[in-house]
């Protein structure tokens, strides 16, 4: 009885008791969610266009971030560093297309999936080899990202909004919009959408599959870079990030592997959900449940909608 109270009633009483804290939690969750969404986004781009379950997206985030900081430390001015990093991401996309995707075309999904593991390992090794394994500070100021926090007095308490978080949210929104435009308006964008449906269609637009792969992987690279910067700015740039990046996966099952809006909504649900869970229910079981709550949310969700949030119903045929 008591335990039931602790689980079912008490948390909500707390929320009611301290609404400011509640809002705070929601906000934190929201921001984390946005960042999850960003990682998931890069993933969806690739899965849509090349059907590859790109496990390496997480590490690409770290790698991008590291490269940026690393280049800066080598003395490049920040803006230049950004450009060069973009260049690196492009080269990476090229390389992956040449070395991995092209030879493995028409192989079963699981094989490509494993290949992305290979990429992950490779990038971890490379990154550490060049920039060393220890965490780095993101060059927030040089990138003209705001620091500090705004304290808003509301609901009989103070809610703290980190400027960087706000920036993150804004930038994320901007980028999503940008992508949307890119997909809707530009020729390449349309081609990419076509690919998602059928490869022939893409060719009819007059772009080779290989080019398309390079483009999506590069786009994913850009997204990764932005994400890397944001994450970095909030905590620091380190390989620990890649485990957190795994959180993108439950987001994906929630949203469906192929749906951009799904990625975003999913990200937010997971982000907020796990923060609330951790904050209000975590203590009951000794905390730290962030590590798995996301997956369980997604899992429970899947059982009722196997096709994900935005997927269409699957009709099996013979």
């Amino acid at each position: 009885m008591d335990i039931l109270f602790k689980i079912l009633i008490d948390p909500f009483l707390q929320m009611g008791a301290m609404p400011d804290l509640f809002v705070q939690t929601i906000w934190d969750g929201f921001v984390t969610g946005v960042l999850y969404a960003l990682i998931a986004l890069g993933f969806v781009l690739i899965f849509k266009a090349s059907g590859v379950f790109n496990f390496a997206q997480g590490i690409m985030v770290v790698f991008a971030g590291l490269t940026l900081v690393g280049l800066y430390e080598m003395g490049l001015p920040a803006p230049l560093a950004v450009l060069v990093t973009l260049g690196v991401m492009f080269v990476l996309a090229l390389a992956i297309e040449r070395v991995v995707l092209r030879p493995l075309v028409n192989q079963p999904d699981i094989i490509l999936f494993m290949a992305t593991f290979g990429i992950t390992y490779f990038l971890i090794g490379l990154g550490e080899l060049i920039f060393g394994g220890n965490p780095k500070q993101m060059i927030t100021d040089q990138l003209f990202l705001p620091r500090g926090a705004i304290e808003v007095k509301m609901l009989g308490g103070f809610v703290q909004f980190q400027k960087i978080d706000i920036a993150a949210a804004v930038i994320a929104v901007v980028m999503i919009v940008a992508l949307a435009v890119f997909f809707q308006k530009t020729r390449i964008g349309r081609a990419l959408r076509a690919v998602a449906d059928s490869h022939k269609a893409a060719l009819s637009v007059g772009i080779s599959l290989n080019q398309i792969w390079v483009i999506v992987w590069f786009t994913a690279g850009i997204v990764a870079l932005v994400t890397g910067i944001m994450w970095g700015a909030r905590s620091d740039v380190s390989f620990g990030l890649q485990v957190i990046a795994l959180k993108a996966l439950p987001v994906l099952i929630l949203g469906g592997f192929t749906s951009v809006p799904g990625a975003i909504v999913g990200g937010l649900i997971i982000g907020i959900g796990e923060k609330l869970g951790e904050f209000y229910w975590g203590p009951l079981v000794g905390g730290g449940i962030e590590s798995w709550l996301a997956y369980c949310i997604a899992l429970g969700f899947l059982l009722f909608r196997p096709q994900g949030l935005f997927g269409d119903k699957i009709i099996e045929r013979i």
């Binding site: 079963p108 494993m114 290979g118 090794g125 592997f257 196997p306 013979i318």
Partner: protein
């Protein structure tokens, strides 16, 4: 080329359905067993035993487990590490609660615990397919890992928060704990692996194996033939997790000799074993061994091999290089032979049987 199959004919089904119908294969297996059971323990250096054979055997067991699930039944799982963990902790609790019972018994029994947990986390597999399922199994990975670290009861409230393997004997000989000799641990492990491999291959050659593969190849047709999908998939999860569990227990008690979940049973362990299965060859017993050998020995080979080749390495750099190499090698192998080392082996064998003809 070494095969002389002329005149090897079967006059009954038992003979025809034998796992190794060809005489030369049976001889080969016998030789391997002799080497493993006699020569290695007698002549093998400690290094060979501790850093090559024991890890190899433990991983073989684990990859057989995962192969049954992923290779034979077509269900991808990223939770193997966790299921190994369940085995390890179950064994730890059991042997601390009943120290007098022989440790080997507990190592095997531990398997049943992880089998049970495996079934629980296998339940979604009826509705979820492919990568969705893979991700779902991550839930198992992280949840269980969390349990291992957050539930002190599991590690007997050790201050270290880790499993501490005690002294256990078999036939009056130390087989676990610091005093246990490498040879003893190796022999126990080897026996376990041999027996369990035999069992697994038996299962896969019979009705159960066929229904697994049926589900893998064409689940709808399988269902229309009266194969109950849920039962079959859960059974696959159970068997698979059993092997993982035993592997986990063996890892803790016969190899690591104690340790902490976040190092031993983390997500990377799961991935590593998935590599082994895929590099080794999906749906192939021998593939599991190849994969385990390849992945488990690679870092060791690099660590000791490169300096031997005159490439001086600082520990850290070696670490990084290993990562790069492993990554590239994985991609390389996937490109050369997506069906894994087992397929290479198969082709080679076929060539030998058909020699001098090419096919």
């Amino acid at each position: 080329m070494f095969y002389r199959e002329t005149g090897q004919f079967k006059t009954n089904y038992a003979g025809d359905m034998a796992v190794f119908p060809i005489l030369q294969d049976r001889i080969g297996i016998a030789l391997i067993l002799v080497v493993a059971f006699v020569l290695i323990p007698l002549l093998g250096s400690d290094f060979l035993l501790s850093s090559v054979m024991i890890p190899f055997l433990v991983f073989s067991l684990a990859s057989i487990g995962l192969n049954i699930l992923t290779g034979y039944t077509g269900l991808i799982s990223l939770g193997t590490g966790a299921f190994m963990g369940v085995g390890a902790y179950a064994c730890y609790k059991l042997t601390t609660l009943f120290p007098e019972v022989n440790i080997v018994v507990w190592i095997v029994t531990a398997g049943f615990f992880s089998a049970f947990v495996g079934v629980l986390f296998g339940l979604p597999s009826l509705r979820i397919k492919g990568f969705y399922l893979a991700v779902a199994t991550l839930a198992a990975q992280f949840f269980l890992q969390w349990c291992f670290t957050r539930i002190p009861w599991l590690y007997n409230y050790n201050t270290s928060g880790a499993i501490e393997v005690g002294q256990r004997t078999l036939f009056g000989m130390n087989v676990t704990g610091p005093k246990a000799s490498l040879e003893a641990r190796y022999m126990v492990l080897l026996t376990l692996v041999t027996v369990l491999t035999w069992v697994a291959s038996n299962l896969m050659h019979g009705r159960i194996g066929r229904s697994f593969m049926a589900v893998r190849d064409m689940d709808i047709a399988a269902e229309l033939m009266g194969i109950d999908l849920l039962k079959t998939k859960l059974l696959a999860f159970a068997v698979s997790s059993f092997y993982a569990g035993v592997a986990g227990a063996a890892m803790m008690f016969l190899w690591y000799g104690g340790g902490e979940a976040n190092d031993a049973f983390n997500i990377n362990q799961s991935f590593l074993i998935l590599f082994m299965v895929i590099i080794g060859g999906l749906g192939s017993m021998i593939g599991s061994f190849f994969g385990a050998a390849f992945i488990s020995m690679l870092p060791t080979m690099l660590k000791f091999g490169l300096p031997a080749l005159g490439i001086p390495l600082a520990g850290a750099t070696a670490e990084h290089l290993t990562y790069i190499l492993v990554g590239s090698l994985i991609i390389f192998f996937l490109i050369v032979e997506p069906h894994g080392l087992a397929r290479l082996w198969q082709i080679g064998k076929q060539k030998l049987r058909m020699w001098p003809f090419p096919y």
